[in-house]
């Protein structure tokens, strides 16, 4: 009997079973929950409410704010990481002295527990006891990094600190696996450095850039630890993000149906972006 199952599927079975149990089943369950008014303290009153949870989110100001915040956060953080990462990768590529040590060192932040990063910066940037405001104070600068105006941008800065290394890692690998001939041809053609970068390096590197940005953006949408460690969404709703709001709605207020709906809106948005980007990528490839 076993013999008649194609060999490939015999190898696939353990993965399929575990995957179905820990991923597929909860995913479908979550989808169903988002269509109910499930509240853990009032489970007996659970009933199917269709898309009510979703339409409810439309009137939810905090949720809209969280969506906006999340998008601003992702857009700013990923763009900055790309620019910085590209610059760093180009420097590292041509570096000769202490090459491996520098690389290993600069990549370190991406491995650090995000909650630890959040807490580290919370106290580094804290107005009363943080060292950075104190140093800035000696120059006469009074900056409240976690005040209503700056809090979200401080979150972006922390994300940039932790995740620019990820960009560096991928872009540097991309740079180093580019073929040499186009660059030699550009030199023979007498192209300046800037022209070479713009019309040889960047186009050749584009596929890697797209993948790196995509991966980074998808990860940035999940931002939670910094908010949890530092601002808890505040001041006001200045740093509310989706992932944090799901946590608060679901775990704080036990409104799990609503929390599931919140999460699925994010998934829909993310999937749309992925599909659109992928389509464009495919069209350019052909």
């Amino acid at each position: 009997m076993l013999r008649r199952i194609p060999i490939g599927y015999r190898f696939l079975t353990p993965l399929a079973v575990v995957f179905a149990a820990v991923f597929a089943y909860p995913f479908v369950y979550s989808l169903w929950l988002s269509l109910t008014n499930y509240t853990i303290t009032r489970r007996n009153e659970t009933r199917f409410v269709g898309i009510d949870q979703y339409t409810g989110l439309l009137d939810n100001d905090t949720y809209r704010q969280a969506l906006v915040n999340t998008f601003v956060f992702v857009l700013l953080a990923v763009s900055l990481e790309l620019l910085l990462g590209l610059a760093l990768a180009l420097c590292l590529q041509r570096q000769r002295w202490a090459r491996n040590v520098t690389r290993a060192f600069l990549l370190a932040p991406m491995f650090v527990t995000p909650i630890a990063v959040g807490l580290m910066f919370r106290f580094l940037l804290n107005q009363q006891i943080g060292v950075i405001p104190e140093i800035l104070g000696t120059f006469g600068l009074e900056i409240d990094f976690f005040g209503p105006d700056l809090a979200l941008f401080s979150m972006v800065a922390i994300d940039v600190w932790q995740w620019t290394p990820f960009m560096v890692l991928l872009l540097l690998a991309g740079l180093e696996s580019l073929p040499k001939q186009p660059f030699e041809a550009a030199r023979v053609d007498g192209a300046s450095r800037w022209l070479t970068f713009r019309s040889v390096t960047l186009p050749l590197l584009k596929p890697v850039i797209v993948v790196a940005v995509l991966l980074r953006a998808l990860d940035a949408f999940k931002v939670f630890e910094y908010v949890f460690a530092i601002t808890r969404g505040g001041p006001g709703t200045a740093t509310e993000t989706i992932q944090y709001q799901v946590y608060r709605t679901g775990i704080g207020f036990f409104r799990l149906g609503e929390a599931a709906a919140m999460a699925f809106v994010l998934v829909a948005v993310v999937l749309t972006i992925v599909v659109v980007l992928f389509r464009r990528l495919m069209r350019e490839a052909t």
């Binding site: 995913f27 580290m120 460690a229 919140m262």
Partner: protein, 266 residues
């Protein structure tokens, strides 16, 4: 960019990375009194913070994190490696299988945490490491599988065909010839998977925030605005950071190939 400019840029980057770490190390040796003056460098080092942390449940939490990480990675390695081989070599499951793995990687934890919370609540498994292990499988398994697909893609088909002609069946050829080729990649995937599990706060906090807290949850519990806890918190942060940093040095080279599905080398 000219050479000196590049060097300057790199130096700034190195300082920007090093400064927070250095500061946390410094704080972890400061006494409560010295903490009131954040920028002072002259103080009498104390080990009080470290002994407080090491006796205060952080070690138990770290041990729990190790247990969770090892269990998650073990399951992921077995299921992920076999599955990745099937997907890479036999195109098992076709496009949907590959897409499913990708989809799982980009799924926000917010989607899965709600049903997992309810399921474990109903089964009385909330606040146990089993809940955390299951939750961590949702992101470690896809990542490990994705890594391994890339590594298997790079193994020439002829190697296992040769092994089959040499006298082994499918599984024998896989075990004796294919698997040794991806062993370094397997190691990288295992370490990276472990780091992901070790670093997770979201699932661990929600599913096991009480009796079965992992290291990140334990660290986050130092997060109070009573500044007096600052030294101990710094020590706790270092407990979580140091092992990961050491592990990271071993995987960096192979990480790129894993992340890019074998498309890039570093």
């Amino acid at each position: 960019m000219s050479r000196p400019l590049r060097a300057l840029f790199l130096v700034i980057a190195v300082v920007a990375v090093a400064f927070p770490f250095a500061w946390v190390v410094l704080i972890s040796f400061k006494s409560r009194v010295d903490l009131n003056d954040p920028s002072s460098l002259s103080f009498t080092p104390t080990s009080a913070n470290w002994s407080e942390v090491l006796h205060g449940g952080v070690l138990e939490a770290a041990l729990r994190s190790v247990e969770v990480g090892l269990a998650t990675v073990s399951v992921s390695l077995v299921a992920g490696t076999l599955g990745a081989y099937a997907i890479s070599r036999f195109k098992a499951g076709g496009g949907p299988a590959r897409f499913g793995i990708l989809l799982a990687q980009l799924m926000p934890p917010a989607v899965l945490v709600v049903p997992l919370f309810i399921l474990f609540f109903n089964w009385n498994l909330r606040d146990t490491i089993w809940a955390v292990i299951a939750a961590h499988l949702t992101f470690v398994l896809p990542v490990v599988t994705w890594f391994m697909i890339g590594f298997f893609d790079a193994v020439p088909r002829e190697l296992e065909e040769q092994a089959m002609i040499d006298g082994y069946g499918r599984f024998g050829a896989f075990r004796r010839v294919v698997l040794p080729q991806v062993l370094p990649g397997l190691g990288a995937a295992a370490i990276f998977g472990f780091v992901l599990s070790w670093n997770d706060l979201f699932y661990a906090l929600i599913l096991a925030g009480g009796n079965a807290e992992t290291l990140p949850v334990a660290i986050s519990s130092y997060n109070t605005f009573r500044g007096v806890e600052l030294g101990a918190m710094s020590a706790a942060i270092l407990v979580s950071v140091v092992p990961v940093l050491i592990a990271s040095f071993f995987v960096q080279k192979r990480l790129v190939r894993g992340i890019s599905g074998g498309g890039l080398k570093y």
